[in-house]
């Protein structure tokens, strides 16, 4: 089956600043993929390139096997919800649905009408007069009713109150349960993603820090606490993501494929949020400079240098792709 998204060396530059650099990904279909990272990390840039609203500066990108371009077929397979859910403020809810019907060959009017009814959105209401949550629900309905194969959502719940956020995710999950849809959504809140994502991509400092199935990542990342020691004494297959030392204690966040045998370490499981934060902190410490290829397991404090690539990946810098 074609991947949801394949990127190779993808980069985007605005003027002199690289919004996204050296991005290599392979996200399988049928997933709910979460794109998480601090603001300005390149999430929106990546998603815009995926739906053909931005042109890559370097590298290649494919969504569902097709290059995002101005082609009706490609556009029709991908549904998009932009950040801050832009809608036509002078058009009503019903007008937006009509717009969807007029511009989408696969438009499912019944689904759209049903959803609007379930959501309680008054059809005659002008979009500009609705709350943020209602606008998001409307935009999501329009994106879903065109029956895409993949839905791409850019921070869809960022400006929603907790109830609106929950209702949005409920609607989204119910739809993908029905339609076997693939989803990629970005957020800077990990808590939302933890519920719904089974694939995660951490984007920080304009680079992919880690990407992989959530289950696989959680099964191979541990928090190790123990008496103070130098992480360089760890076996070679340990990859230390983050370390912190007090005078008596060392705490590590490390990736390791096998079990931890050393009894001196207390091994704890990580939550997805902890894992993401560890990678984000590491990225912030080192910034964009990935010129320092580190030795085994030596990331040092505040050194953003990346170790050699993980399981048989393409070997590009700053990348850790797990299957």
């Amino acid at each position: 089956m074609t991947d949801l998204m394949t990127a190779s060396g993808l980069g985007k530059r605005y003027g002199r600043r690289w919004a996204l650099a050296d991005c290599t990904l392979r996200v399988p279909q049928g997933r709910v993929a979460g794109l998480v990272g601090p603001n300005g990390a390149g999430k929106t840039t990546l998603l815009h390139m995926a739906v053909g609203l931005e042109k890559p500066t370097t590298g290649t990108l494919e969504v569902l096997g097709g290059r995002p371009r101005d082609d009706a077929g490609q556009i029709g397979r991908v549904g998009f919800l932009a950040q801050d859910t832009p809608v036509y403020s002078r058009l009503s809810v019903a007008d937006h649905l009509r717009m969807g019907a007029w511009t989408n060959p696969n438009w499912d009017a019944g689904l759209a009408a049903r959803r609007i009814g379930e959501l309680g959105l008054p059809p005659g209401q002008r979009a500009g007069k609705m709350s943020g949550g209602q606008r998001a629900q409307l935009a999501l309905t329009v994106a879903m009713a065109k029956r895409p194969e993949v839905l791409i959502l850019d921070e869809p719940v960022a400006s929603l109150d907790p109830l609106a956020r929950r209702e949005f995710l409920q609607l989204l999950m119910a739809t993908i349960a029905e339609d076997k849809l693939s989803v990629m959504l970005s957020s800077h809140l990990v808590a939302d993603l933890e519920r719904v994502c089974d694939y995660i991509i951490v984007l920080a400092s304009s680079r992919v820090q880690v990407a992989g199935e959530v289950d696989a990542l959680l099964a191979t990342h541990w928090r190790l606490t123990g008496p103070r020691r130098d992480p360089r004494t760890l076996p070679a297959d340990f990859d230390v993501i983050e370390e912190s030392h007090t005078d008596v204690q060392t705490t590590l966040v490390a990736r390791c494929d096998g079990p931890v045998h050393d009894p001196a370490w207390t091994v704890g499981e990580l939550s997805l949020e902890d894992l993401v934060l560890a990678y984000m902190r590491r990225a912030r410490g080192g910034g964009l400079a990935s010129g320092r290829g580190a030795g085994d397991g030596d990331t040092g404090n505040g050194d953003g240098g990346n170790g050699e690539g993980g399981n048989g990946d393409s070997g590009s810098r700053g990348l850790r792709v797990l299957r």
Binding site: Q170, A174, I176, A177, E178, R195, C197
Partner: protein
């Protein structure tokens, strides 16, 4: 029809929580043979979790022989656990009470008792696997 809830802070993964809640319902007699479990769509529409999570939970229950999936219709209970009711384990419960008394008299507080129990529970489970 039972309803699931999710405790985001419990440290137990969502799919495990669903499995546990089904087993719990079976044990309490809330679910009987032939009852239908909530559809995946209904579960995710209420909990806003990934459908694959629910599918994974139902699959595990199917492996355990407790439920069976009928494609296009739903997932139905095929066995119950309520035969194994708690009352049948009176002697076990007594032993446990006696042990707890001993532990308290030895000076262990609640947390130490829990830690001791969890540690023994885990290592005994690992021994079984090994």
């Amino acid at each position: 029809m039972i309803e699931f809830h999710l405790d985001a802070r419990s440290g137990v993964s969502p799919y495990q929580q669903i499995v546990q809640q089904v087993r719990h319902a079976l044990r309490l007699g809330l679910l009987h043979e032939g009852d239908q479990l909530p559809t995946v769509k209904d579960v995710v529409a209420r909990l806003a979790i990934n459908p694959n999570t629910v599918l994974k939970a139902y699959k595990e229950l199917e492996h355990a022989g407790l439920v069976a999936a009928r494609p296009g219709i739903g997932t139905f209970v095929t066995a119950t656990l309520s035969d194994v009711s708690l009352t049948a384990h009176g002697p076990l419960r007594q032993e446990l009470r006696r042990w707890l008394l001993k532990a308290r008299r030895a000076g262990l507080d609640d947390e130490s008792i829990e830690a001791l129990f969890r540690d023994a529970f885990r290592s005994s489970g690992a021994e079984d696997v090994a």
